[in-house]
């Protein structure tokens, strides 16, 4: 089987290994190096899963602190980055659940301005036109892609974020999300299809 994506990343050399070993021995500078190396990636994963920048920043910090706390329990069966990703994804999922619940519980006036990527706009009451699509058409392609990813179910969003945005191998995704590789493959396929359909709808024939 010439399956490049299924080569165990844990078996591969982990560039973080020396720093991780030093950090485990209590070397704070080594850990700081790991933070600097991975913070952007973890923040982006968190941001794409949660959808809120400030929440993503908080979750990223929590993920690193949690990693420091549990460094002793990290058995280096996976790469450090994969392990860290797993922590970040879990914390992000929890945060997103909380954020969604809060939003659902907060009473909202129908007339109150709605926050969008373009700033605050007054909600457009239902007319003959599909207003959401209208708004999307005014955005550039990138924003539309982001909106389509954001509209995905959390389980699908995770895999597409990790695979297509963070370029993780199937095996790494499976390890980080604690899923079977088959599940990762099928979820990724369906996620990509969903984004494709979403983009087709919002961009119409212009795509």
């Amino acid at each position: 089987m010439s399956n490049s994506a299924e080569i165990s990343p844990a078996a591969a050399f982990d560039v973080d290994a020396p720093l991780v070993a030093a950090a485990r021995a209590g070397d704070l500078q080594a850990f700081e190096s790991l933070v600097l190396r991975h913070q952007k990636r973890m923040l982006n994963i968190a941001f794409r899963i949660i959808g809120e920048y400030d929440d993503a920043c908080e979750v990223t910090q929590d993920a690193f602190v949690s990693a420091w706390r549990n460094l002793g329990a990290f058995r280096q069966e996976a790469r450090f980055s994969t392990w860290l990703t797993s922590i970040t994804v879990n914390l992000s999922k929890n945060r997103r659940k909380r954020v969604t619940l809060q939003q659902a519980r907060t009473p909202r006036s129908l007339d109150a301005p709605v926050r969008t990527d373009d700033g605050e706009v007054l909600p457009d009451p239902p007319s003959g036109e599909p207003t959401a699509l209208d708004r999307m058409e005014r955005q550039d392609v990138k924003n539309r892609v982001q909106d389509c990813i954001r509209a995905l179910e959390p389980d699908f969003r995770e895999v597409i974020v990790l695979r297509d945005m963070q370029d993780l191998a199937y095996e790494e995704i499976a390890t980080a999300l604690k899923l079977a590789i088959g599940t990762v493959k099928s979820r990724l396929s369906r996620a990509r299809e969903a984004v494709k359909e979403c983009l087709k709808k919002t961009m119409g024939d212009r795509s």
Binding site: E32, K40, W68, I149, M165
Partner: protein, 350 residues
């Protein structure tokens, strides 16, 4: 692989994650299936667009904030070890002082708690001491074998008297407002089992006595008059009334009740608690027919008393008299007399 399977494999095909055989099959199918070719093109474009999404930058403060939190945790860990291990090596003298201090405090508390325990026992001891002189004259007479029986009755009764004594002593300076029956209440409660027994066994006519208080009233009101007390229930009932009618005889009524209770609860031998027993309590004042001969007895002379009371006991025709001393709210049995051969003679009591 059919058309649908191939459609679902396109995502993996793009990632080059399919096997060589699968790859060949898919490529063969793509040559003939325009739908799948179009789907593949769109999928590739979608993935390309997703990959083009720019990443957000981490705020400049992020790493330092993370490290501050980590250092904070590290500090807590260190202080944990400091708290539990470092004192073993650096603060040993302080620990020694602390242990010594605790030991001294413990000893102080121990020595101060012990007397408290002693005090709680003291009234009982005092009472038996006070009684001792009265019992002395009787020592020449052999003690009767009913001692164990009495002990059972005495124990709670002594306690009840102690409680009463302590309670009333503190309340004494104030003019008494409440009915006297209120004060002896604890004493009555303590002796409840015995009383219940008595009510059942011997005072079958007690309800009758309750029902006819009016004839007794004038007698109680008169300071020199003797009061007929028939059973404890009647005594309880009669006293408060006497008090409300004649406040002057309040102390007398109270004393009489105390004496009567002491007799019924402490001194009355169990063997006498049978049907047919009746007793009356008299104050032994000047003019009382018993005073003349009783004041000549040794038991009368050995003890100075505030007041003396006599309880006339009639056990189916066999008569006896119990002489009591009531002094400073304490009740003391001085002697027991029996009517034998037309004369009153003292009989031993423990």
């Amino acid at each position: 692989m059919n058309h649908n399977d191939i459609r679902h494999k396109l995502s993996e095909y793009i990632d080059e994650s399919v096997t060589g055989a699968e790859k060949a099959t898919i490529e063969e199918h793509l040559k003939t299936c325009a739908d799948c070719s179009e789907a593949l093109r769109e999928l590739r474009k979608t993935i390309e667009q997703v990959k083009q999404i720019e990443e957000v930058e981490a705020p400049a403060w992020m790493a330092s904030k993370i490290m501050a939190k980590v250092r904070d945790e590290e500090g807590q860990k260190k202080s944990f070890w400091q708290r539990f291990l470092v004192p073993l090596f650096t603060y040993r003298p302080a620990q020694a002082v602390a242990v010594l201090f605790i030991a001294v405090i413990s000893y102080y508390i121990y020595t101060n708690l012990n007397p408290a325990a002693k005090y709680s026992e003291e009234p009982v001891a005092k009472l038996s001491q006070r009684e001792a002189p009265v019992e002395m004259p009787d020592k020449r007479i052999p003690k009767p074998s009913q001692q164990p029986e009495k002990k059972i009755a005495q124990e709670p009764a002594f306690r009840s008297l102690d409680m009463k004594y302590e309670y009333e002593k503190t309340a004494a300076p104030k003019p008494r407002e409440e009915p006297p029956a209120a004060a002896p209440a604890p004493a009555q409660e303590e002796s409840r089992p015995l009383k219940d027994e008595m009510d059942k066994n011997m005072f079958t006519e007690a309800p009758k006595a309750k029902a006819l208080p009016p004839p007794a009233m004038p007698e109680q009101a008169a300071p020199a008059g003797s009061t007929l007390v028939r059973g404890s229930a009647a005594a309880e009932k009669a006293e408060p009334r006497a008090a409300t009618k004649a406040p002057a005889s309040e102390n007398d009524a109270e004393a009489r009740q105390a004496v009567t209770e002491h007799f019924a609860n402490v001194d009355l031998p169990k063997t006498m608690k049978v049907k047919g027993l009746s007793f009356t309590t008299h104050g032994l004042q000047a003019g009382h027919p018993d005073l003349e001969w009783m004041q000549k007895t040794s038991v009368f002379l050995t003890k100075q008393c505030e007041k003396r009371y006599v309880i006339d006991v009639d056990l189916s025709g066999s008569l006896s008299k119990y002489l009591y001393c009531y002094d400073h709210r304490r009740v003391l049995l001085l002697g027991i007399f029996e009517f034998r051969n037309d004369t009153w003679s003292e009989i031993p009591h423990p």
